[in-house]
Symmetry: C2
Subunit: 442 residues, 2 copies
């Protein structure tokens, strides 16, 4: 056995990911040392409560409540506590003390990423966060390194397992949102308070991180447009299916050029999270259950997709340990850490300036002239009609009943579209706007 | 504009990938400098013939036939000549002169990788080869870095675009191999001499590289078992379809444990390329056309898939330029290159010791007792029968005709299976062994 230089690894947090990281580090220590070129000694695990129940059977003597002392003696600090504080303070302390840091904390990076990356840059430390973007799916290195010589045009990501699980079951079983959510909570796919998932907050944090990486810029979390899936019902999924689509909660990061983008001639980006219609033939359409996938369109590389488990303790631990080995290799190789390239400083446009296709479903009076009125309002609003399908809702009735219009538009500006939908709603011929959904990936 | 330190980049070769690399480097130079933290100056392009026609319009003054002088003055050398010599000599010269090197040369790495990596290790240089494993798909960094803390159990890769294009068209159109191959040659998906693709040599080189990375070991090319697809006909594809499978040329890299593997109790690996039956529900089954995908099963991360274009000049150029930016960042950060971890030294077992499921199709006499005889031979050979389907080939005939038996086996050792098939062939009841195919991914 080779007598490697030993690196001291401090672990902050022993939840479902943390306890798996500790267990794997202890189990595969020798093998990881061979790969890293350095021994990885788990110096301790900082927790709030020494007596809390743990998922794995870890040596009692590793636990401590004194995070700061643990951090000060470490070469590599792994932060898996979650939340903003004290995680932020601990990470900055670790960086200040010259350690490399590994974190899976997407909330922290999406809100305080710039502060943490700048602190690391100043001392030549490195911040690793593979587990923060898409769980176990290796996406950070592909975006930051492998595609660094290319220009990413668009990312469409299924980056939240809970919502994909819910939408997939609604799609395959015709079930209603509330029923599947309750089931998902019972099975552990959704939290008791599911807000972060079903309202798109988790996906928005990941979208900010992915867009920052893909476009080598800084995306503040509040610049990410966010919509959840709580308004999606079985009938919307059913119409989507009939039209050849599947509904997915997507994180879309897009490069805009020229007039569509910034005030000037330069480039801009759009970062948004919303449920969207995806053609069934698109590779993202076959991402089932709680799986995640990131679809990347790049100028030279073309279309790429990265697929895998988006969450789960042991899966996420894989990404964390990959980062630990990378950090150890860097310690052995020497040199300063490679900073984030955030020099692009691209403006993030508001949702109103985004251009996509839409599917608008209306309930209208079933009488002559209605379609002409609707078409006129669309034309006036700069929304070009691509397809229209009319179904009479009550064909049995003697008096004029209602009809359902499913309108597919050509690419239109979000602002034009939403103004047009408002005009339709108050036009007198539209009884109800059933749904307005974007179409992505066609 | 920032006044970066300038790095001199030498390009060897100006074929379809090389000319795209040069064009993109010139077009996006400023943006790449921002990302790399260093200016990337294309110092020259070494070619054999200054007057050969080029795919892109590159400045004439960049071209030179004096590769050695160009190499000696470079910080980063990109080798895109292909072939073993003089590529090998030039790469070793570049490493000796202290340059980092980028190559897409899978034939060279699969045969002389150890020599090149060791030379780089000795001087602390780095070898980048993202484009050598699966074209534009970022797979090197995920395997070497992101999954370095995990244990890869199996890789199944569609790593050759030509054969996937051919098999996909045979599957969707029911066409014959020779017809689709001719069409693929006409359309530029296959070379005039298609041997390297259709006989699996290209896939075997990639399999050796992927297995070396995934298992942190060294896999010599001649340890890779290789079979091509020239014997695949429309009827085999058709039977596969009926049984719920699709036929793909797979590169399989597998970790074997204990008695299945090496002589001793330790671990071993198997690396093999052959056409195999993949269940239609498997993510690899939906990889169409000339696309590639690498499916990875890891102990902690679970199942991952990486999908994209496997070849093409501009796509491959993306991977090469990502490597160039990485090399430049390392020059800026300092430190020595991170060597390949090849300390595992896992034995590669011969194909006879591999365990998979099989589908064996036989033509047998259609008379009583034949199935019992066949089942007896299987049982004697340690091959356990999972499913059997019998179809009478000539139901109209008065005399006993032939029947077709499609036998699905449970997991069996390749050696047992092939000996059993030989016994079946000479048993007197089997008229013809129609096909023997492995089943992967179920």
């Amino acid at each position: 056995m080779i007598d490697y230089r030993r690196l001291r690894v401090a672990l902050l947090g022993a939840g479902s990911v943390g306890s798996q990281v500790a267990a794997l580090l202890l189990k595969h220590g020798d093998e990881l040392a061979d790969r890293a070129g350095a021994g990885l000694e788990l110096a301790g695990i900082a927790v709030r409560d020494l007596d809390a129940p743990r998922e794995t059977d870890l040596p009692r003597e590793l636990f401590t409540t004194d995070a700061e002392t643990l951090i000060m003696g470490a070469d590599i600090v792994i932060e898996l506590m979650g939340g903003i504080e004290p995680a932020r303070t601990y990470l900055l302390q670790a960086i200040g003390a010259g350690a490399d840091v590994v974190t899976a904390n997407k909330a922290l990076l999406a809100t305080h990423g710039t502060e943490i990356f700048e602190a690391a840059d100043q001392v030549g430390a490195q911040v690793y966060y593979e587990a923060a973007a898409a769980g176990a799916i290796p996406i950070i290195r592909p975006l930051r390194d492998s595609l660094a010589g290319d220009r990413v045009q668009r990312i469409m990501g299924i980056v939240n397992g809970t919502t994909n699980y819910i939408l997939d079951r609604m799609d395959t079983e015709g079930a209603e949102f509330a029923d599947v959510l309750a089931d998902a909570q019972r099975l552990g796919y959704a939290e008791a308070d599911p807000t972060a998932d079903i309202e798109g907050y988790d996906a928005a944090q990941k979208a900010a991180i992915l867009a920052s990486l893909a476009f080598h810029t800084t995306v503040p979390l509040d610049a990410v447009h966010r919509e959840g899936i709580t308004h999606i019902d079985a009938s919307m999924i059913e119409s989507a299916r009939k039209a050849g689509f599947v509904l997915k909660l997507l994180a879309v990061c897009e490069r805009l050029v020229g007039q569509e983008g910034s005030e000037e001639s330069g480039e801009a980006i759009s970062v948004r999270v919303y449920p969207a219609l995806v053609p069934r033939v698109h590779p993202l359409a076959s991402v089932h259950g709680a799986n995640n996938a990131v679809f990347v369109e790049a100028e030279a590389a073309g279309n790429l997709m990265f697929y895998g488990a988006g969450a789960g303790g042991v899966q996420t631990a894989s990404a964390v340990l990959g980062d630990v080995v990378s950090a150890a290799r860097r310690h052995v190789a020497g040199g300063v850490g490679v900073g984030e390239s955030t020099l692009a400083n691209l403006p993030v446009v508001e949702i109103g300036r985004v251009v996509t296709r839409y599917q608008v479903t209306l309930e209208v009076d079933d009488r002559p002239g209605v379609l002409a009125t609707v078409a006129g309002i669309l034309a006036d609003g700069n929304v070009s009609l691509a397809t229209v399908e009319q179904t009479v809702i009550d064909p049995e009735g003697q008096t004029p009943g209602s009809a359902r219009l499913v309108i597919g538009t050509h690419s239109a500006r979000e602002k034009d579209l939403s103004e047009t939908v408002e005009k339709l709603a108050s036009s007198g011929v539209v009884e109800r706007v059933v749904s307005v959904l974007r179409v992505e990936g066609d």
